[in-house]
């Protein structure tokens, strides 16, 4: 059976106003992503990785071109509609974990589902499942300040994954972690990618991440310079 694209990027140009002129951060990008991909955007600093992730994540809009995510044209979404798209279908992970400090691990993860008005019993099961995925069942009642960096990022992953989004967008998720923790969370994400068929898109410099990817898109000065399927070294 054919696997249709869930993200289509067509002639995308993104310009930012700088001073009197404009700066072109993304220049004529054409890409498609399919369900279940584990893809990395790589490239030097300033090449446009985060900008592209932002637009796919409906946090920013294209200047020109059409970006379609799960049949929604990003340029045409209202604030409410883009919030809904993120709420239901997109998960974000950042370099810093951005957990809510006064809430427990359990409550941090639960919050994503509160936004969806999921009934309590169902919610509880989903939260416990998500914490099991990331191996933090024993830290349910801890608060973020009590967690190690690796644990913090794993809570962030559980929080993003608990609603079982179609697409996960991760911007430098390993940048603050040591090697051991980096591998741990990458393995966790890889497993979720395989079990739940979640599409993962990374923006990264990290060599460790490369080893897990099955597609690497290289950006340079806002252009795609290479787009290759790879056989993951770590699997």
């Amino acid at each position: 059976m054919e696997n249709p694209a869930i993200i289509t990027i067509d002639k995308l140009i993104k310009r930012f106003p700088v001073g009197n002129g404009e700066f072109t951060a993304l220049n004529n990008i054409n890409l498609q992503f399919k369900k279940g991909e584990f893809t990395g955007l790589v490239g030097p600093s300033g090449s446009g990785k985060t900008t592209l992730l932002n637009i796919i994540g409906s946090l920013d809009t294209p200047t020109e071109g059409i970006v379609t995510v799960l049949d929604h044209s990003i340029a045409k979404l209202t604030h409410k509609q883009s919030a809904q798209l993120r709420n239901k279908h997109l998960g974000f992970i950042f370099q810093t974990y951005n957990l809510f400090p006064v809430y427990t691990v359990y409550e941090n993860v639960e919050f994503a589902l509160l936004l969806q008005h999921m009934p309590a019993a169902e919610r509880r099961k989903a939260v416990l499942d998500a914490l099991e995925w990331v191996g933090l069942t024993d830290k349910i009642n801890s608060k973020p300040p009590q967690l190690s960096g690796g644990e913090g990022q794993r809570v962030a992953i559980a929080r993003a994954m608990v609603k079982r989004p179609a697409i996960m967008l991760a911007d430098e998720p390993t940048a603050n972690l040591d090697s051991k923790n980096s591998h741990h969370i990458l393995q966790t994400m890889k497993r979720l990618n395989e079990e739940l068929q979640t599409t993962f898109i990374f923006a990264t410099h990290d060599e460790k991440v490369m080893g897990y990817l099955n597609r690497i898109i290289s950006l340079e000065d806002g252009k795609v310079v290479k787009d290759e399927q790879v056989v993951p070294a770590k699997n």
Binding site: T50, L53, N54, G57, S58, L59, D60, T61, H79, K80, S82, A83, Q84, L85, R86, N87, K88, L90, F92, F94, Q95, T96, N98, F100, V102, Y103, E107, E110, F111, A112, L114, L115, R159, D171, E172
Partner: protein
């Protein structure tokens, strides 16, 4: 979601403690302040109504012009008929005669010669009619220091200070020198049946209280009285009704140009009192307004600080797909919860302190020397039904307003820069 917000408020001391303190304090002051003003104003109003002005008061026009001098030569005549008419026409009022007079009290020695003399202000009121409310109205029974109320003609109460100063005892004779209604000299002997202290400077220095019938005899005022006062039988001053009665009464004499024709005034017409009555009405609004303003500014600032502190939280929530409107709404909900907690705490303390001041009062005797007005020296707070909710008005408004202003920043937030903001 509410539960979630509630947990956040309880656990995040930064979010709750300072605002709750600010609100509690403001609410406390509002509740106590309004109970205090209510007490002070109603004491002031009641004192003036009961001692001088009634709820309404009838005098001759000429008397009314010089009311401060209580000119008995301009007194009302044929008062029994007048009271009869008033009773029929306005049965919701109790009508009573009063005569104020000035004079000299002379204390004789055993030989009947003058031992001491002092100025006194006198009042003739209704002590003797069965069922009279006048002694209670003027708080005389509980102001008695020694002795008892006048029970028969010829008995008089004098102020305790006067009695002490001139060593007058119960049962001693005393002579009142005054002027009759027609300008002649009058002297009448009374027996001191008791002494009183009202806690009002004007009265305590030197006063004599006798029955109105004795005053009529002593001052040659047969069937006359300086003033006729009307008190609403409900006990409360209803200024609307008082105005109706006043207008209806005065309309009957509109065509009469006689300066001895009667004229009615209501309590508001008393110098100063109208102003205080108005002030009493607006006082709680003024208190609330001031506290809303002051607290809103403080809470706006704590809200702004809170917004800075929670910058990442709000950013993450936007990234997670919460709408700005919803985040803003949750901020307002939080502020309602915090405002309610602070208001409850402040109201409890305000009521406790107000209750204490309602029981004990504060002696302002030395601070307040009423110019012309009758002023009680001990002021007490009064807790009315509004004391239970009035604090919630500034408590909630200021917290919600402060946070509503501070929360506008959420709307300014651009989602396009969230990834950058959330990566540092």
């Amino acid at each position: 979601m509410i539960q979630f917000l509630f947990k956040g408020i309880i656990r995040d001391k930064n979010r709750s403690v300072l605002p709750i303190l600010v609100i509690s304090l403001g609410v406390f002051l509002t509740v106590l302040g309004s109970a205090w003003f209510k007490g002070v104003f109603s004491d002031m109003i009641n004192t003036n109504a009961n001692f001088t002005a009634g709820h309404v008061r009838v005098m001759t026009r000429a008397y009314a012009e010089n009311v401060d001098q209580t000119p008995n030569d301009l007194a009302l005549v044929e008062v029994d008929q007048l009271i009869n008419d008033l009773d029929n026409q306005f049965p919701d009022f109790e009508w009573v005669k009063r005569t104020h007079f000035g004079g000299l009290l002379d204390v004789p020695n055993e030989e009947g010669e003058t031992r001491a003399q002092g100025m006194a202000i006198g009042q003739g009121i209704d002590f003797f009619s069965p069922g009279t409310h006048e002694p209670e109205r003027m708080n005389i029974p509980s102001s008695i220091v020694e002795g008892k109320l006048p029970g028969q003609p010829g008995e008089a109460l004098i102020s305790d200070d006067f009695a002490k100063r001139f060593k007058v005892n119960i049962g001693d004779p005393i002579t009142l020198f005054g002027s009759t209604m027609y300008g002649g000299m009058a002297f009448t002997n009374f027996t001191v049946c008791g002494t009183v202290r009202f806690g009002m400077r004007a009265l305590d220095r030197g006063a004599i209280l006798i029955d109105i019938s004795d005053a009529q005899i002593a001052l040659d005022m047969a069937d006359a009285a300086g003033e006729v006062l009307g008190f609403q039988k409900s006990g409360n001053y209803d200024e609307e009704r008082a105005l109706q009665v006043k207008d209806a009464f005065n309309a009957q004499y509109a065509a009469d140009s006689d300066e001895f024709a009667p004229v009615m005034q209501r309590l508001n017409d008393q110098a100063f009192l109208g102003y205080y009555l108005d002030l009493a009405k607006y006082m709680s609004s003024i208190v609330i307004f001031i506290f809303v303003l002051a607290m809103s500014i403080v809470l706006w600032n704590t809200g702004l600080l809170g917004g800075l502190r929670r910058y990442n939280e709000f950013g993450m929530r936007l990234a997670m797909g919460e709408e700005k409107r919803h985040i803003y709404g949750s901020l307002i909900t939080e502020s309602i919860i915090i405002g309610t907690i602070g208001s409850v705490v402040g109201t409890i303390f305000g009521l406790a302190a107000g209750y204490y001041l309602q029981q004990h009062g504060i002696d302002m005797g030395s601070a307040m020397q009423g110019g012309g007005m009758m002023l009680p020296t001990v002021f007490k707070a009064r807790i009315g039904p509004e004391a239970f909710y009035i604090g919630f008005i500034p408590g909630l408004i200021s917290m919600v307003l402060g946070n509503a202003l501070a929360g506008i920043a959420i709307y300014r937030r651009q989602t396009a820069v969230l990834t950058k903001e959330l990566s540092v």
